[in-house]
């Protein structure tokens, strides 16, 4: 594990709104982390390959499209296949309450809704990654 926390912020799926992802990336940077921002329309394969090359401690997925129940399991499965089980995954976006238990069951370490403050997000990510 790197001394300086490295976090990948990715935006899987087809919706084109990355304002939230950018706000979170900025907040984590301001909390002293190295944030790798990958941009829009990432496939789970692209996200996992980037996480591997960048040797990150955690991945933040921003999903507003409603496709989280398809995208998140695929990212987590690909992470396992790549031997990256130790990489924490957190999700931000519009996630209905009834989907939360299933995502947690999959191994998602934290879920942030639209109202989450950047301070809470940064503190949670720090705690998840043991920083």
């Amino acid at each position: 594990m790197s001394e300086r926390l490295r976090i990948l912020i990715a935006k899987p799926g087809l919706d084109g709104h990355d304002r939230g992802a950018k706000v979170v990336a900025r907040a984590l940077r301001d909390a002293g982390m190295e944030v790798i921002y990958t941009g829009l329309r990432q496939t789970p394969e692209m996200i996992v390959e980037a996480a591997l090359q960048e040797d990150v401690d955690a991945i933040g997925l921003s999903i507003l499209s409603g496709a989280h129940m398809t995208l998140v399991p695929r990212v987590i499965e690909k992470l396992r296949q790549a031997g990256l089980d130790n990489v924490k995954v957190f999700v931000g976006g519009i996630i209905p309450d009834e989907d939360v238990p299933a995502l947690q069951e999959l191994g998602v370490a934290a879920i942030f809704g639209p109202g989450a403050s950047t301070q809470v997000i940064a503190e949670t990510v720090l705690r998840l990654t043991g920083g």
């Binding site: 001394e3 190295e34 090359q53």
Partner: protein, 315 residues
């Protein structure tokens, strides 16, 4: 070390992290890998923010792949001096390269280093070289005029300009232009590109590139990296530059210069570490207080500390 040589990408990624954190394991592995280095063509891409460096790197990497060469990319972005954090966004412009097993991209933060690269960048380049990438492209932070570390790390340095960034007086200033082996005017579909290219040519006419006392005149090329126009010509010029370095003997000379400056840097680091350990924190603290209070000065302090350690050597 063996997995890295065998192309294990995860092992490679972990090793790069170890190097960035400057651990003792990293040093041992680096010294074991060193005999496998020296094969890659290291191309540096530098220039002011917003000139299109990342997009150009993306297109150069694609052009290399078309020619059957594997590419390692190191993209450096600045660390915030206030928080220690960094936003590394160069991958956004390199999405075309995702999923290609012949490409490996690593984003790095400067972590306080001021020359446009991080302290670990040169070592990470060596690791990618040892891992077998035929071309290693290093993208510096968006630079001003004095961040010229890249010239020590790369064989071929590409300085990227864009139209409308400055008049021809800017082009006369020392620094970036002096380290250019290739000059690229990107965004050449914009007004003013021809003038920018001309101003650069005029500057080149005024004086030889001081780093190259040979016959190489940096070509001024125009690109539109966004759609790939002109990029093949840039790669051709980089390859021609490499051939020039090898035929003229400059390749060997630069390798020697690099070896010498690496050795000096390593000696400096080791000597300072040992000296600090030997002199002790308390003594250093005492001198620091005296200097701050104007009771002593750095020159006297350094000379006295060194004289005292030398004396105790003779005891």
């Amino acid at each position: 070390m063996a997995p890295v040589l065998a192309g294990d990408r995860r092992a490679l990624a972990r090793l790069i992290s170890l190097i960035e954190d400057n651990g003792p394991t990293a040093r041992a592995t680096l010294s074991a890998l060193y005999p496998y280095t020296g094969h890659a063509h290291v191309i540096g891409v530098t220039g002011a923010p917003g000139t299109g460096k990342s997009t150009l790197v993306n297109e150069l990497a694609k052009a290399c792949r078309t020619r059957g060469q594997t590419v390692g990319i190191v993209a450096v972005d600045p660390t915030s001096p206030f928080t220690g954090g960094a936003l590394l966004g160069d991958r956004v412009r390199m999405q075309d390269l995702a999923g290609d097993p012949g490409i490996f991209i690593r984003s790095m933060a400067t972590r306080g280093s001021l020359g446009g690269l991080s302290l670990a960048t040169a070592d990470v380049v060596k690791v990618l070289d040892a891992a077998g990438f035929a071309v290693v492209i290093v993208e510096t932070v968006g630079v001003g005029q004095a961040e010229v570390d890249i010239a020590r790390t790369a064989h071929t340095t590409i300085v990227v300009e864009a139209p409308g960034l400055g008049d021809d007086v800017q082009a006369l200033k020392a620094g970036l232009l002096e380290i250019a082996d290739l000059l690229v005017v990107n965004k050449a579909d914009r007004p003013g590109a021809a003038q920018t290219a001309r101003a650069l040519e005029v500057t080149l006419d005024l004086g030889r590139n001081s780093r190259l006392d040979g016959q190489w005149r940096p070509p001024v090329l125009q690109t539109v990296a966004l759609d790939g126009r002109g990029v093949n010509e840039v790669l051709d010029a980089a390859i021609a530059h490499r051939a020039y370095l090898q035929e003229s003997g400059l390749w060997h000379r630069r390798e020697r210069e690099r070896a010498y400056s690496d050795l000096m840097r390593m000696l400096e680091r080791e000597l300072v570490e040992r000296l600090v350990e030997r002199v002790g924190a308390a003594t250093l603290e005492r001198w620091t207080e005296q200097i701050a209070a104007r009771e002593s000065d750095v020159y006297t302090a350094a000379q006295t500390i060194l004289a005292q350690t030398e004396e105790s050597d003779h005891d």
